[in-house]
């Protein structure tokens, strides 16, 4: 679609002609919703296009840049605090995803990147002490119903999300990269041997492991909200860190941990959508893990929709089918069949409730909140 192509061209710095203001309004809207406005702003500046843009665009890019900057500073503060609190309690303390992108020294993927929570990876056996320590310092779990509690405790790869009482910081503490019940959760020790420390002493994954984690996360999701942002995360990591060692480490780790297919798919859509060059030998190495042609066509249908700079106001035909198939696939991949039935049944029941009574019927606090 026209607007989608314009956005991709902007990200790649390959804009052929002047863009009408009406299109810019759509572009700003889509990128803001994709949480990608600051990132594209940074790219445009790097291409030297920043000052040539209409005032309207410069205004919104600057807003986004300032908001991202604020988050960048905030995460440095939170990381310092978390490190000092938790370091003594666990052998491994890693910052993942968005926070890691910000903390990694001079990482392009961290520029203008915003996120709603800070993700940590720690040793499973140290979770009780970590939870207690965080609680003592103002991080509390949100009110969960019994079903959700059970989900987190028994089947998940993280404890229920924590929120800081006054600062509002959201914290996700993980002990693995994928829920245990999926049967796909890797031996986390394999990942622990691919880490690095930044100049301030924070531990994050090596670029290759960071990329693989990001790819796993994206390619196994049952719901993709910011597909284009997530796709560009991968693009930026590869663009900045690729060299023969990177590709070697990446493919070896992917095969060793059982995520070669996810890596193959992540690279495929970066090639297809963002024209990312991938070395021939990498493609060859991953070839045996390629899904069959029917499966591949299905996956292409889903991801060529979901990884585009999507927005409901610019929906194309097939978008909602892609959503549905993605949901089905995500659940199918992540849950044993009996559990999937149970889980979907439960979610369907909740959906029926909210369709019938309105979306706030499931919100325990809705009434109190309105009276406040």
């Amino acid at each position: 679609m026209h607007i989608h192509n314009l956005i991709i061209q902007l990200f790649l710095g390959k804009v052929s002609g002047p863009i009408p203001l009406e299109d810019w309004a759509d572009i700003v809207r889509i990128l803001r919703d994709q949480q990608c406005l600051a990132r594209v702003g940074w790219r445009l500046q790097r291409y030297g296009l920043g000052s040539t843009l209409p005032t309207f665009v410069q205004h919104h890019l600057k807003n986004a840049e300032l908001i991202a900057q604020k988050q960048y500073h905030q995460v440095q503060y939170e990381a310092k605090l978390l490190q000092s609190l938790l370091q003594p309690l666990t052998t491994h303390l890693l910052f993942l995803k968005g926070a890691a992108y910000s903390l990694q020294d001079n990482a392009d993927v961290g520029r203008g990147r915003t996120y709603s929570d800070i993700d940590l990876l720690v040793d499973k056996q140290s979770l009780p002490q970590i939870e207690r320590e965080l609680c003592l310092h103002g991080f509390f779990a949100e009110d969960l119903d019994e079903y959700d509690q059970k989900y987190y405790r028994e089947w998940s790869h993280e404890i229920p999300p924590l929120r800081h009482g006054s600062r509002g910081t959201l914290l996700d503490v993980h002990h693995n990269l994928l829920p245990l019940m999926t049967g796909r959760a890797p031996d986390i020790q394999l990942f622990f041997s691919h880490t690095q420390q930044n100049s301030a002493g924070y531990t994050v994954f090596s670029p290759a492991a960071m990329l693989l984690h990001s790819a796993i996360h994206l390619m196994l999701s049952e719901e993709i909200k910011h597909g284009f942002r997530d796709l560009t995360d991968l693009y930026l990591i590869i663009e900045q860190y690729q060299n023969p060692d990177f590709w070697q480490e990446l493919t070896a780790l992917a095969i060793q941990t059982g995520f070669a297919t996810e890596l193959l798919l992540a690279l495929r859509y970066n090639q297809k959508i963002l024209f990312l060059p991938v070395p021939e030998h990498v493609i060859e190495t991953l070839q045996p893990y390629k899904p069959g042609s029917l499966g591949m066509r299905l996956l292409d249908f889903i991801f060529m929709h979901k990884l585009m700079p999507q927005h409901p106001a610019f929906a194309s035909s097939g978008d909602s089918l892609a959503d549905f198939l993605l949901l089905l696939r995500g659940h199918y991949l992540k849950m044993p069949f009996w559990l999937l039935l149970k889980h979907l049944g439960r979610k369907a029941y909740r959906q029926i409730l909210s369709a019938f009574f309105g979306s706030s019927v499931l919100d325990k606090n809705a009434d109190q909140h309105n009276k406040k």
């Binding site: 203001l21 309004a25 919104h60 600057k62 300032l66 019938f356 706030s360």
Partner: protein, 291 residues
């Protein structure tokens, strides 16, 4: 369900508005007049005010506010939809507009000289704002002062004045000809009515003004006017408390607040009679200010 697309041209921003709630649309017309129209603009924000889904349409119907795909607030009684939209617009500006230092304050100007009135709810700020706006002052802002960083300049963001509880009847008696919205009952602020400022404020809604004084008003029943000059440290602390995006704007925000305080007369004023306060401003503050 069909949503009419309208545009709200509120300098310096343009909002695209979609609503399926009649009462919201009529209030928009009542308050904003021609500024709420089908004349397309380049929207900065995309707002939807829609009625709830499912049984909610019939049983205690609700209004939901959406800023594009985001829903920052809980649904509210459908009759209060317009107030929800007003707060939603404030939310958009406060969370997105980082190129201004935004102070939770009313701004009114006379003879090109502006006074900033930062105040917590309950201080009578909106009543004061309404009175001044209808007595020769120009309204630039009722709730959010948009200060250009590094200057004393305030950009107008003219919006209706948000009156609460007792001040509603007071304003209706004072200005029977003025344009009021319908009452939003039992909101988290109590009963709320929005009042459209006079034509002059709307007509000059792109003309910035220089702030010459910062006045922290405090309504106290049956008290004579009491004026306390604040030193710069006191004024800074009081003003910083009311700055929305103080931390976001970072050092630029800090310096802007410092510079404002340094270049302004700063007062705390306890008053019972708004006319008396206006007289003080017009005779003892503005004439000595050089913008």
């Amino acid at each position: 369900m069909t949503f009419d697309v309208r545009y709200l041209h509120l300098a310096p921003f343009c909002f695209e508005i979609r609503t399926d709630i009649n009462k919201v649309a009529t209030n928009l017309q009542q308050i904003y007049g021609d500024l709420f129209s089908t004349t397309p603009g380049i929207p900065d924000y995309y707002l939807t005010l829609r009625s709830g889904s499912g049984l909610r349409k019939y049983l205690r119907p609700q209004a939901r506010f959406l800023a594009d795909q985001q829903e920052p607030f809980k649904p509210i009684d459908i009759n209060n939809g317009f107030a929800l939209l007003e707060w939603g617009m404030n939310w958009c500006i406060a969370t997105s507009e980082m190129r201004f230092v935004i102070v939770h304050a009313a701004v009114l100007a006379k003879d090109g000289k502006a006074v900033l009135f930062p105040a917590p709810p309950g201080s009578g700020k909106s009543t004061l704002t309404a009175w001044l706006a209808f007595n020769g002052w120009r309204l630039l802002s009722d709730e959010m002062a948009l200060v250009i960083p590094g200057t004393n300049q305030v950009i107008p963001f003219v919006r209706p004045i948000c009156l609460k509880n007792q001040s509603i009847d007071l304003a209706r008696n004072w200005f029977p000809q003025a344009r009021f919205s319908t009452v939003a009952k039992n909101t988290h602020k109590g009963d709320v009515v929005h009042l459209s400022p006079p034509a002059q404020s709307w007509q000059q809604n792109t003309e910035p003004a220089k702030v010459v004084a910062i006045v922290f008003p405090k309504y106290q029943k049956a008290q004579p006017l009491e004026v306390t000059a604040l030193n710069q440290a006191q004024a800074f602390m009081a003003l910083a408390e009311n700055a929305f995006n103080f931390s976001l704007a970072g050092s630029e925000g800090f310096h802007t607040i410092v510079q404002l305080v340094e270049n302004c007369q700063n007062y705390e004023v306890t008053y019972a009679d708004v006319a008396e306060l206006a007289e003080f401003l017009e005779q003892d503050v503005l004439p000595y200010a050089h913008p």
